[in-house]
C-alpha cells in the first residue's frame, strides 16, 4: 500500500504530471501523479490516505525545498500542476464528505493589486496540504473578504500583495476582517511584506514562503 503512495508523493515532489509529460527529463515515459492516483483508487486505497499520505507528503517536501532556495517557482508550479491533476480524481470524495479536509482557507490579493503569482503559489500549497481553499482572486476588497468569511464560518484568511503601494491596504482589510470576525486568523505575505510590517499592522502571521503558511494553518487545527 505505502509503495504507491510514496510514488505519488515522489511525482508531486518532482512535478511529474502524467505519462506524456516530458518533465522531469529523467522520468520520461514513466507514470505520473495522474495515472498513479487513479490506480491507487482502483486498488481500493482510501481517498483520504491518498491525499494525506501521498499528495500532502509530496507538497510538503517541495514546500521545504522552496523555502530552502533549493527550487524556485518553475519547479513548484510543476509540482502544483501534478498535485492538482491528481486531486481532480479525489474531488468526488471531497463533495461526498468521505475525505475530511483540515479546514477552509480564504485567500486573495488585496485591493488595488493584480499580481497573482505568489497568491497562487500559496493557494496551491495550502490546497495540496489538505485544506479547502477559497481563492477570491486579485484586487479583492475588504467587503469581499468579510463576505467570504461569513459564507465559510471558521475559515482563516490570507492576504497577498506585491506592491509597496497596495501592501498598505492590508491594514484596512485586516481591521475590517477582525471587526467582523475577531477569531479569524489573518496571514499576510508578498514580496514587500515583512515580520516588522506584520507587527506594525497587527496581523496574526507572516511567512516569507508558502510552507510557513501551511505550517501555521496546520498548527491551528493540530
Amino acid at each position: 500500500m505505502s509503495e504507491i503512495l510514496e510514488k505519488i508523493a515522489y511525482c508531486v515532489e518532482f512535478g511529474k504530471i502524467n505519462q506524456q509529460s516530458p518533465y522531469p527529463p529523467d522520468m520520461k515515459g514513466q507514470l505520473g501523479a495522474d495515472e498513479l492516483t487513479k490506480e491507487a483508487l482502483d486498488t481500493g486505497l482510501a481517498p483520504e490516505d491518498i491525499l494525506k499520505k501521498g499528495l500532502v507528503i509530496g507538497m510538503e517536501r517541495i514546500g521545504i525545498k522552496f523555502r530552502e532556495n533549493k527550487v524556485f517557482v518553475p519547479q513548484v508550479l510543476m509540482s502544483a500542476k501534478a498535485m492538482s491533476t491528481a486531486i481532480e480524481h479525489l474531488k468526488p470524495f471531497f463533495q461526498s464528505g468521505d475525505v475530511k479536509r483540515s479546514g477552509i482557507f480564504i485567500i486573495g490579493t488585496v485591493a488595488g493589486d493584480l499580481h497573482d503569482i505568489g497568491k497562487n503559489l500559496v493557494s496551491m500549497m495550502v490546497e495540496g496540504n489538505g485544506w479547502e481553499v477559497v481563492d477570491l482572486g486579485t484586487d479583492v476588497s475588504a467587503d469581499k473578504f468579510v463576505n467570504a468569511i461569513k459564507d465559510n464560518p471558521g475559515s482563516h484568511v490570507g492576504l497577498s500583495a506585491l506592491l509597496t503601494t497596495t501592501m498598505i491596504n492590508m491594514e484596512h482589510i485586516l481591521k475590517e476582517v477582525k471587526a467582523a470576525s475577531p477569531e479569524t486568523r489573518v496571514l499576510i505575505g508578498g514580496a514587500p511584506v515583512s515580520e516588522d510590517f506584520k507587527n506594525k499592522i497587527g496581523a496574526d502571521f507572516y511567512s516569507p514562503d508558502p510552507q510557513g503558511a501551511v505550517e501555521y494553518l496546520n498548527s491551528l487545527v493540530a
Partner: protein
C-alpha cells in the same frame, strides 16, 4: 559631480562622494500633484515631476521613466491603471491565441515610447550634467507579460518555445535601448525583476545568453549599462554579473555586502538598496538617514551608487529623501547619524526641569567634536569670543557627542541637529553660526528674562480661612506682621465662605493657605511634557 561621478563608479574608480540616484518613477507625479496614470502618460508631467525631483533631491543620475509595462503595452498587453502605482498587465496576448510570429518589435512611434523619448530629450537639454537612465523591461519579465506564468511551465515542458520567446523579447530590449540612447540616455538599465523567481541553472539557460547580447549592444553604442533586479534574487547575482553589465542594482531583499563582494569579483559597479517601504515610505527622516549611512558605509566609495531598492513608492515623503540628500552631501551629518546610531535610543534622559534656573546664564554648545568638525569649531569660537563680554554671568560648555554623556544631554534637550547652541537649556541656534551681535542679543534677552522672573516669582497669596470673621482676626494680624517684616509683595485674602473651606477640605479653623505664583513661561506655549514636570512639583 553629476554624471561624472556615476561614470567613475561604473568604472570602479574612487569618487570623492558616493553618487546618488533616487529612482523617481510615479513619485514625480506626487511632487507636482498628478496621479500615476496622468503622470506616466504625459511627457510634460514627467519633465515637470522630474525637474521637481532634481531640484529637491540633487541627484547625480535619475531614471527617465520607471514603468515596466511600456513594452508590454506596445505589444498588445492590456493594462489596468492605478492612482498611485505604475499600471499592471492584466492580459497576456500569447495565452489568448496570439503567436510570437504575429508580434513585431515596437517602433519609436508605438504606445508611450514617444513620451519617453520626448522626456529624455528635454531633460538632456535642461540637465546636461545629470546621468539619464533609460529603463527597459528585462526580457524575462517581458516574456512573462506576454505569456503569463505559462513561461515557467514552458521552461520545463517546452524549452524551445521559451528560447524563441526570449530571443524575441531581447530583440525588443535592443530596439528600446537603441531608441533611448539615441534620445540622450547615458545609462540603459535592464530591469528584470521576474528573474528572482527562477533558479541559477534556469537563469543561465534562459536569461544569460540573451541579456548578455543586450549589454554588448549597449556597450557598442557607447552607453553604460545596469542590471536591476528586485526581490529575493540572491541565488542569481553571480549569474547576473557574468552577463557583463557595468552595474548591478538590487533591493533590500539581498544583503548589500554580498553584492559588493560579488561585483568586486567581476569588477563591476553595484547599487542599492535603501529599504523602500519600512524606511523610505513609512519611516521617519532619522530612519532614512540611518539607513542611508548604513548603505554608504557598506558600499564604500569605489563603484557604489546609492539608490532605493526599486521604484520609489509614489507617496514616499519627500522629506525622507531630502534627509538622505543631507547625508550624501555632508560628512558631518553622516558622522552625527553614525554616532547617534551607536548609542541607540535606550538613553536615560536627564531631568531638565530646573535647568537654567541658576543666577548665571548657561550656554551649551552641542557639537560633533570641535576639533574635527569645522562648523562645530566656528560655533564654539563664536561663543568663546562673546562670553567675556558678560563678565562672568555667562558660563559656556561644549558637549561633543562622541562622548556618551553628551548624547544623553543632547537628547534630554531635544536637540536634533549638530551643531546647536542652547541658552539656559533652550535651543537657540541650530546649525548656523550666529553673528556676534545676534548671539549677544540672545544672551542679553535671557538675562533680562531672568531678572523679570526673579521679581515676579516673589508674588504670592496668603489665604486665611475661618468659620467667622472674629476667628480670622488674630491670624490676619500675624500674617500682616510677617509680610511687613520681610518686605515681600503678597496679597492677603480672608474668607468665611463654607464652600471655599470645603473645597480645601478644611476641618479645623482657622486655617492658613500659602499659594506661591511662579512665572514659568511667557511669550510661548511650553510643551505638554514640560508642563507636566511643573505640575509634579506642586
Amino acid at each position: 559631480m553629476g554624471k561624472e561621478y556615476i561614470f567613475k563608479a561604473f568604472k570602479r574608480e574612487e569618487t570623492e562622494r558616493t553618487p546618488w540616484v533616487p529612482f523617481v518613477g510615479c513619485h514625480g507625479g506626487k511632487l507636482i500633484g498628478v496621479n500615476a496614470e496622468g503622470y506616466l502618460k504625459s511627457s510634460t508631467h514627467m519633465v515637470n515631476g522630474l525637474s521637481a525631483a532634481i531640484e529637491r533631491y540633487k541627484p547625480d543620475g535619475i531614471p527617465v521613466v520607471f514603468d515596466l509595462q511600456i513594452e508590454a503595452e506596445a505589444l498588445g498587453c492590456e493594462l489596468k491603471w492605478s492612482e498611485s502605482a505604475p499600471p499592471a498587465v492584466i492580459s497576456h496576448p500569447m495565452i489568448n491565441g496570439i503567436s510570437l510570429q504575429q508580434l513585431s518589435i515596437p517602433k519609436k512611434e508605438d504606445g508611450r515610447i514617444p513620451e519617453v523619448i520626448k522626456t529624455t530629450k528635454i531633460l538632456k537639454e535642461k540637465y546636461p550634467d545629470l546621468a539619464l537612465y533609460g529603463l527597459i523591461t528585462g526580457p524575462f519579465t517581458l516574456g512573462l507579460h506576454l505569456l503569463g506564468t505559462e513561461i515557467f511551465v514552458g521552461m520545463m515542458e517546452d524549452p524551445e518555445m521559451v528560447h524563441e520567446l526570449m530571443q524575441f523579447t531581447s530583440q525588443v530590449s535592443d530596439a528600446l535601448a537603441g531608441y533611448y540612447i539615441e534620445a540622450g540616455c547615458d545609462v540603459i538599465a535592464v530591469v528584470d525583476p521576474m528573474t528572482s523567481q527562477i533558479d541559477p541553472v534556469s537563469f543561465e539557460t534562459y536569461v544569460t545568453p540573451y541579456v548578455s547580447k543586450t549589454f554588448q549592444f549597449i556597450k557598442s553604442k557607447k552607453a553604460y549599462s545596469s542590471f536591476f533586479v528586485c526581490g529575493h534574487a540572491q541565488q542569481n547575482i553571480e549569474e547576473m554579473c557574468k552577463c557583463k553589465p557595468d552595474n548591478i542594482s538590487i533591493d533590500e531583499n539581498i544583503p548589500l555586502d554580498y553584492v559588493r563582494e560579488m561585483s568586486l569579483k567581476y569588477n563591476l559597479s553595484f547599487g542599492g538598496n535603501l529599504k523602500l517601504t519600512l524606511v523610505l515610505l513609512l519611516g521617519s527622516k532619522e530612519d532614512a538617514q540611518k539607513e542611508a549611512v548604513e548603505c554608504l558605509d557598506i558600499g564604500g566609495k569605489e563603484g557604489f551608487i546609492l539608490s532605493p531598492g526599486c521604484d520609489l513608492p509614489m507617496d514616499t515623503p519627500p522629506e525622507n529623501l531630502e534627509a538622505i540628500v543631507e547625508v550624501v552631501y555632508d560628512n558631518y551629518t553622516r558622522d552625527v547619524v553614525r554616532t547617534m546610531d551607536i548609542e541607540g535610543t535606550s538613553l536615560d534622559l536627564l531631568n531638565m526641569k530646573d535647568y537654567g534656573q541658576t543666577d548665571k546664564v548657561i550656554v551649551d554648545i552641542i557639537t560633533l567634536d570641535s576639533e574635527s568638525c569645522a562648523p562645530c569649531q566656528y560655533m564654539v569660537e563664536a561663543v568663546k569670543k562673546i562670553a567675556p563680554h558678560f563678565e562672568g554671568i555667562v558660563e559656556w560648555r561644549e558637549h561633543p557627542i562622541k562622548k556618551m554623556e553628551s548624547i544623553s544631554f543632547m537628547s534630554s534637550l531635544m536637540v536634533k541637529n549638530i551643531p546647536t547652541i542652547c541658552i539656559d537649556g533652550k535651543i537657540s541656534f541650530v546649525s548656523k553660526i550666529p553673528p556676534k551681535n545676534e548671539l549677544i542679543a540672545a544672551i542679553q534677552k535671557r538675562i533680562n528674562e531672568k531678572l523679570k522672573l526673579k521679581i515676579k516669582s516673589k508674588k504670592g497669596e496668603i489665604l486665611i480661612l475661618g468659620t467667622s470673621k472674629n476667628e480670622c482676626i488674630q491670624a490676619e494680624k500675624n500674617v500682616m506682621a510677617a509680610i511687613n517684616e520681610t518686605g515681600v509683595d503678597l496679597e492677603i485674602t480672608t474668607s468665611t465662605d463654607e464652600k471655599i473651606l470645603a473645597s480645601y477640605g478644611i476641618i479645623n479653623t482657622p486655617a492658613i493657605i500659602v499659594a506661591e505664583y511662579k512665572l514659568k513661561a511667557q511669550g510661548e506655549v511650553p510643551d505638554v511634557r514640560i508642563i507636566k514636570e511643573w505640575i509634579k512639583d506642586i
